[in-house]
């Protein structure tokens, strides 16, 4: 099936009544929850993962999850602009100029340009995804266990190094995630591991309990500690549609943001956060008026918001073609696919073209829907921010508890979710970035299987990872990354110890 035939088939699936409805619901729910401070895209998808069990069709379930993802990505900008509080990490830089615009009575223009920029960038990235994903999937058909082992370990390492936090802490979380994935039956020998006599643990931990615990409840527990009261800067939004001058000032920022976001989003671990930071830095560097940045420059909203939306769309490329989730939110979608009995990877396009093309086509539809939904409903999202956290928190707790119980109808899942909630809370207290945990958890079985299969194939010869061209290249990148990080770490440490000049 060529690309255009596939896309037409995808549109026929995405435009069916049920799928349009679920795409709309996903974008709406995603935006609504994404607007709430403290709940980013990963937490939003985690909270809604049990829904995928009750949706019979895999295409419909994934269309809804994708809608939630880009809806939540957009929702994050609303809190950044109106509360100076990023709804998710990728919207941190939007706070800088977005909040200043809101203080000057231009909140509407900031929200409007964020929506329009997100739409354009999202669409550009989906066009890239449409044409880039099928050839990449075809290329990945040649991958064997050594290539998969090299790719997954490189992806995990990139996720840790590009997250921006402490690499040591990131690696610890990575190993913890891998170990949690090993609980239960060993897929090759059938031995029982880390169950300590518990029969329910023999099937391993459920991803839903981990995701909801670490990202949903962990977030709630951490927010419960806070005594800060957030206030909306303004109730008067002003005009939501940007003026011609706003558009003229923003168009190149949107274009650059789209391109930067698309390419950074493809790299595992790259994602929305880095792309928005990179876009802001570039806009400021090449602006004729860099002094306006930080004082309410519209390019400071348009660029990063476009970049993070382009990145969120292009991060579907490694998922759909290689089966590698590049960030925590995409790991949730990976899990949603697995729940539906579909293994993402190079065979997806050949074995489940309806899912592959249906999801891609639905992203065009969902992006347009998001624009139509967000511009007129900005006022509603502002009102949502007024709901006190004291009411939201127990409602979210009820939702997660019953949601987790509904997966297998056993209370044990609630207890294991609470265990992960405590883990997530502890991680936040100690400044651990939780993002590598779900990635390691979902990739763990693939890492172990590919490592052991590679060693079985080669008769224990470790050179199998370097003698094959693709895995050899990936291993070389892996080694270069490790050496580079170690070099920078030592250099930084020496810099600290240097006595101050007198």
């Amino acid at each position: 099936m060529d690309i255009f035939a596939g896309l037409i088939n995808g549109f026929s699936i995405a435009l069916s009544g049920t799928n349009i409805l679920f795409c709309f619901l996903g974008a709406l729910i995603g935006t609504a929850i994404g607007v709430l401070p403290g709940l980013g895209p990963a937490a939003t998808i985690a909270l809604l993962l049990p829904m995928t069990y009750v949706i019979g069709s895999p295409v419909t379930a994934i269309i809804m999850m994708a809608g939630i993802y880009y809806g939540a990505m957009y929702g994050g900008s609303t809190t950044s602009i109106l509360l100076n509080l990023p709804g998710e990490a990728a919207s941190v830089v939007t706070c800088i100029d977005g909040y200043q615009m809101a203080k000057k009575g231009r909140a509407g223009a900031a929200l409007g340009i964020a929506a329009i920029g997100s739409f354009i960038a999202g669409t550009v990235a989906i066009v890239g995804l449409t044409f880039f994903a099928p050839p990449l999937a075809e290329f990945a058909l040649d991958f064997g266990p050594p290539e998969y082992f090299a790719l997954t370990t490189l992806g995990l390492l990139l996720a840790v190094t590009l997250s921006g936090g402490s690499i040591i802490k990131g690696l610890i979380i990575l190993f913890v995630g891998l170990l949690l994935a090993m609980v239960g039956l060993d897929p090759i020998s059938g031995k029982i591991r880390f169950t300590f006599g518990s029969i329910v643990l023999q099937g391993g931990f459920d991803f839903v309990t981990l995701a909801m615990g670490v990202f949903g409840l962990g977030e709630i527990l951490y927010n419960l500690e806070s005594t800060l009261k957030t206030e909306i800067v303004t109730t008067k939004l002003g005009k939501v549609f940007p003026t011609l001058k706003d558009w003229a000032d923003s168009k190149w920022a949107i274009f650059r943001g789209s391109v930067i976001g698309f390419f950074i989003g493809i790299i595992p671990g790259g994602g929305a956060v880095i792309s928005s930071l990179a876009s802001y830095a570039i806009e400021k560097k090449y602006s004729k008026h860099p002094e306006e940045f930080g004082e309410g420059a519209i390019q400071g909203v348009a660029g990063p918001e476009s970049a993070n939306n382009a990145a969120s769309s292009s991060s579907f490329i490694p998922l759909l073609t290689l089966g590698i989730p590049g960030n925590a939110a995409i790991a949730m979608i990976f899990a949603a696919l697995m729940i539906q009995g579909i293994t993402p990877g190079p065979f997806l396009v050949a074995e489940h073209p309806d899912v592959f093309w249906g999801v891609i086509a639905s992203m065009y539809v969902g992006n347009a829907m998001l624009l139509v939904l967000n511009l007129p409903l900005v006022g509603l999202w502002v009102q949502m921010l007024r709901v006190p956290y004291g009411i939201l928190a127990p409602i979210i707790v009820l939702f997660t508890t019953v949601g987790v119980y509904s997966v297998q109808n056993q209370v044990f899942d609630i207890y294991s979710m609470l265990f992960f909630a405590a883990l997530g809370y502890g991680m936040r207290k100690l400044n651990f970035d939780p993002a590598p945990l779900p990635l390691a958890f979902v990739l763990g079985p693939m890492v172990e299987r590919s490592l052991r299969q590679s060693l079985l194939i080669s008769g224990g010869d470790m050179t199998i990872f370097v003698t094959r061209p693709i895995s050899g290249t990936l291993v070389a990148i892996f080694i270069a990354l490790v050496i580079g990080q170690t070099f920078f770490f030592i250099k930084r440490k020496r810099g600290w110890k240097k006595p101050p000049a007198t």
Binding site: M51, V54, I168, K169, L171, I172, F175, V176, L178, L179, M182, D186, I188, S189, K191, R193, F194, L217, I220, L221, Y222, L224, E225, S226, T227, L228, G390, A393, P394, I395, V397, L398, F399, T401, V402, G403, Y405, S406, N409, V411, I414, Y415, L418, A421, A422, Y425, K429, L430, V447, E448, L451, R452, L455, L456, G459, G460, M462, K493, W496, K497
Partner: protein
């Protein structure tokens, strides 16, 4: 913060060593030709043990960062109470039934954690319980534990 990080680093190291022993002794490592169930857990345990030590060494060489501006007051007892309530809720759901336990849970949350007035507490509890019941039981057809008086 540094004190807690040091304690965590020690736990990480000790945990890593324990995993290595468990993988080697109970799961068995196999050989490099035919790796067994303990092979990757052993490597992960070794990774954790080494990272814990490296983390401790780094902590040894860095100074505690001074907080910028006045520190936000954080109420640590609220998450602890919330965890206890959720544990009890998980147990009560099967013991006394979904509707009763949910109602009691939301009332307890509002009174113990949020310290709300009774009227607001009851409104939130009734609406919250009803909304969840409607969503999960009517809409999503999730089988929930029956009430203790209806068994």
């Amino acid at each position: 913060m540094k004190k807690y990080e040091r304690i965590t680093a020690i736990f990480v190291s000790l945990g890593g060593v324990w995993i290595m022993v468990y993988a080697w002794h109970t799961l068995k490592l196999g050989s490099i030709h035919v790796p067994d169930a303990g092979f990757l857990p052993f490597l992960c345990g070794a990774g954790l043990a080494i990272l814990g030590i490296v983390w401790m060494l780094i902590l040894q060489g860095t100074r505690e960062q001074e907080a910028k501006g006045p520190a936000e007051k954080r109420l640590w007892h609220r998450p602890v109470l919330a965890m206890l309530l959720m544990l009890l809720y998980g147990w009560a759901m099967e013991a006394i039934g979904y509707v009763t336990s949910t109602l009691v849970f939301v009332i307890a949350w509002q009174k113990v954690i949020e310290r709300e007035k009774w009227l607001k507490t009851m409104i939130i509890a009734l609406l919250g319980t009803f909304a969840m019941y409607a969503l999960f039981v009517y809409l999503l057809k999730v089988p929930i534990p029956p009430e203790f008086f209806a068994r």
